[in-house]
């Protein structure tokens, strides 16, 4: 296993990190993702009904007098049609977006890496079958399939995760397969085989860690896509069920009050956009940093 090394290291990860941090945009994206993650984790503390919390409102606290109220001292990002604080709902919405994004990508990673590894390592019939399966999945419009799965099996964080995982594993599978085809012919792979290691050990202990880098790049794009799709599903009313706050569901109610409630349109949209952009930028710069030609 290659471990990320410290400052003076010259391993692949240390070199990659040194190349990565040259991009100011990439650092900003990383810091942004870190911040949003912290906010998501701390959401119940930051935004709750207790007076001690930073925002002073929970995501479902109703302020009947101030419905559809523009941003002011009390509700810094305004309120929605039920008088709920938009900032509090957005803070809790970050939890949903990040959870779904990470879980769906984790699922795609596990399924994709497993199938890609088997296809690349064994070749032949296994490779043929996995390649045909990828071709079939790529024929379906992903949002069509996700919508059907979520609607028919009942919307929840888990069905969304499964719907996204089942439709997006093909990228990871293709990357892992490609890497395996390359590295299974390398000397360390022969050495492992010659020393009598079982196939499963060669695949998971020796080859997979070395195929990880390009897969992590595609995982970063995967998180971006999953967050985008989750918010689209919520916007269409088929996301994590109400009253759970999600960025997409705030935008859905914004649609009905578009004539004057501009704050409902602007803030959750900016949150989705920045988060998706951050994961896309991290993936892009990480890919550049892995490329030795960029030195």
């Amino acid at each position: 296993m290659i471990e990320p090394t410290g400052e003076a290291g010259s391993g692949m990860w240390a070199l990659t990190w040194r190349r990565y941090r040259r991009s100011r945009l990439a650092i900003i994206a990383l810091v942004y993702v870190g911040l949003v993650s912290l906010i998501a984790i701390a959401a119940p503390v930051i935004a709750s009904s207790s007076k001690a919390s930073l925002i002073g409102f929970g995501p479902n606290d109703v302020d009947m007098v101030n419905r559809l109220h523009p941003p002011d001292e009390r509700h810094r990002l305004g309120t929605d049609e039920l008088g709920r604080d938009v900032l509090a709902r957005m803070i809790h919405g970050a939890r949903v977006s990040l959870t779904v994004g990470l879980l769906a990508t984790a699922m795609a990673l596990v399924v994709g890496s497993f199938l890609g590894a088997i296809a690349g390592y064994y070749g032949g019939a296994a490779d043929w079958l996995v390649s045909r399966a990828i071709e079939v999945v790529l024929c379906f419009p992903l949002l069509f399939v996700s919508l059907a799965i979520v609607a028919f099996f009942g919307p929840s964080v888990w069905t969304i995760m499964i719907a996204l995982g089942l439709t997006t594993w093909t990228n990871e599978a293709r990357y892992v397969r490609g890497e395996f085809l390359r590295i299974r012919e390398m000397e360390f792979a022969y050495a492992a085989r010659a020393s009598g290691a079982r196939d499963s050990r060669i695949i998971f202990r020796h080859l997979l860690p070395n195929a990880l880098a390009p897969v992590l790049v595609s995982a970063s794009f995967g998180v971006a896509y999953a967050i985008l799709t989750e918010s689209a599903l919520s916007f269409l009313g088929l996301g994590v069920p109400l009253p759970t706050a999600t960025w997409g569901s705030i935008l859905a109610s914004a649609k009905d009050y578009i004539e004057y409630a501009w704050w409902l349109v602007i803030f959750p949209g900016v949150a989705i956009f920045l988060t998706v952009a951050a994961f896309n930028i991290i993936g892009d710069r990480f890919r550049d940093a892995l490329d030795p030609r960029s030195d």
């Binding site: 028919f152 935008l251 949209g269």
Partner: protein, 327 residues
Amino acid sequence: MLTYVVRRLLYGVLTFFGITIAVFVLVHSVPGDPISFYVGSHGAQSLSRPVLEEIRHAHHLDESLIRQYGWWLRGIMTLDFGNSFIDHQPVIERIASKLPNTFLLNLIAFLVAAVLGVPLGLWSATRSGQPIERASAVTSFLLYSLPSFWVALLLMQLFSVRLNVLPLFGMTSDDYLDLGAAMKLVDRAKHLILPVVTLAYAQLAVFARFSKSALTEVIRQDYITTARAKGASSGAVLWHHAFRNALIPLITLFGLSLPYLISGTVIVEQIFQWDGIGRLYFEAILTRDYPTVLGLAIATAVATLFASLFTDLLYAAADPRIRLEAR
């Protein structure tokens, strides 16, 4: 070339069966009595047992799963997707009646994206390493990260609510039928602008990125260096040697973008109340109109299959390396 074509077509047939199996498995793993796929979940409760048994028999639900798949596949092959639960019209006719609206919208969006995106990408590739190239790369990334439903809402708010120059949604105005021929055209065009922009901007970014990386790849090739070494001007090198070869990979992109266009159609048609297949699909999902959902899922997947077959063959015709490598 012929072996390549035959092989590719055979794989296409296999993929078609894969598509039908995937949909069949998915549908049969949905919890609940499969009879609700034929009479709707409400219908199943109100019917008496003998009637249910009869329906079961008529739809082959009393046979093995393999045989059920066979019957279902036979229906698909003859373009019989069954009747909608909602209006009891054949699904295939419902799809056919909405398809032109979706086609018009997507064709225009696709053309706008290609006409603007491809030259933009090629141009930024020739400015490699300059600040303008970095800036355009970041811009296309940001465009790509914008949620389309948010863009739609922003456009509606700006152009329909604040400026009041474009209609909020719909395909035509209420007084459309009273308009003269020229005004009818203007009215339709006005209704097209916002949905087209919403569909096109992300595609544009994809086209720009793709054509940029295609040209960057070509410029690295030895024959470009050779052409330069001969003393050809950089304009001539780009025009005669680089551009044409960079355009070949774009063929695959045109085939691959179909499923993305269709996915985008669901959101755009729903927001702008555009009467196409995306909206038909979404409403079928909400009303659990299974025959329409299945029919559209199969139809769009098969359309993508045909598009990818077509582009692969076109690609092989344009680039001999493909068909020779594949033997």
